[in-house]
Symmetry: C2
Subunit: 229 residues, 2 copies
């Protein structure tokens, strides 16, 4: 496989990353599951192939996985985001898009999952934008979809994914991929700095979920039908 053919998922053995890999594979797209440990990545890829007949899924070390396609999903815990981006510096190359899915929950520093950390750059996504090599564009997305629901193919999704970024073209490419997952509607939420507000949705939903014993998602009302023409 060469750049352009696969969907790399850094942190693809975690709940969100694995759920994304499964859903993209189910949509017929080859996925490159990354992990710190290539063996664990390989096991996750095998699990995807087991659940999705004809899936094209390979397991690799994160940096290796990141070279496998033009739009790289970063689905690691915020605690490990900075370390992962440092490790990806040599792997990422000009023209690639990095989709940051991390959320700076206070749980990253042994605080509550209903609280958001203040990130010096404004948001986890802006921290990512500061750390990626020149020519790599960061898009922020996928903070509110339940990892658990993504990981169960029989679970029907019906929610919105807010997408933020400074490059319209990069946002559109990410939106096209998200649109491959049945039941997810990508919504352009604006510039990358808006990620600060979007990342706050995760602890908010966690707080709602605790109260209602639910797995809430977000849907915006009042939007036109053709969202991403």
């Amino acid at each position: 496989m060469s750049l352009g053919e696969s969907i790399p998922i850094v942190g693809g053995t975690g709940a969100l990353g694995f759920g994304l890999a499964l859903r993209f594979a189910a949509a017929g797209r080859p996925v490159a599951i990354g992990s710190r440990d290539a063996d664990r990545a390989g096991e996750a890829a095998a699990k995807v192939r087991e659940r999705v007949p004809d899936a094209q899924a390979e397991g690799l070390e994160n940096a290796e996985a990141a070279t496998r396609g033009p739009v790289v999903f970063l689905a690691v815990p915020f605690r490990a985001q900075s370390e992962n981006l440092t490790n990806l510096k040599e792997a990422l190359s000009k023209g690639q898009v990095l989709v940051d899915c991390t959320v700076p929950l206070a749980a990253a520093v042994s605080g509550k999952a209903t609280r958001l950390l203040g990130v010096p750059q404004g948001s986890a996504a802006q921290q990512a934008a500061e750390m990626v090599p020149d020519g790599v564009t960061v898009v922020s997305a996928l903070h509110t979809v339940s990892a658990r629901a993504l990981g169960r193919l029989e679970a029907e999704l019906d929610e919105d994914v807010l997408v933020a970024g400074d490059s319209k073209d990069a946002k559109r490419r990410v939106a096209e991929l998200i649109g491959l997952i049945a039941g997810l509607r990508p919504v352009d939420a604006g510039r990358l700095e808006v990620a600060r507000l979007i990342e706050g949705l995760t602890p908010l939903l966690i707080s709602v979920n605790i109260r209602h014993k639910a797995h809430a998602g977000v849907k915006l009302t009042g939007l036109p039908d053709a969202l991403w023409p």
Copy 2:
């Protein structure tokens, strides 16, 4: 009218406050519209009576209005929140609930409406909680419903209102009032500190609205039917 009979709305001549007054009046509840200027409040009350036959609406100075019922809505711009709370110190009394609807948009200090200010206490609602007299409970709500839609009775609403606060009883009382407005579903979002995340929804929706030329609202998916038993 005495305490307990009416719904006071401080800032009831503004777009959000007037919309709330109109909707509560349409639901058959007496409203006390407050304004800095009693005459302007009186004009707004007359407008409510004009649009809602049999409406019980009176217009008063803010501090006077605030004494008219047990659950007081504070619907002023964030720029004026602190000043209003100072003016209400003598008017509010033990046992009352103050519903803070203000949003600390950067627009309050000539910044962008797609940006949220950092409030020292954490959120506008927490600033309100610090300023109200002892025995008055603050609940945070009504940040995402379009004031424009509230103000047009023919506009059908179908969205959620996230409600945060440290008193379950106070939240329930506010939820009951919000539930009077057709098409609004109150959702318990947790403790008052979560207001910080909820207030961020407003600039986020404004950013979405700019991009999509829409008036987006919020709806949470995956919640149980009986939200506020």
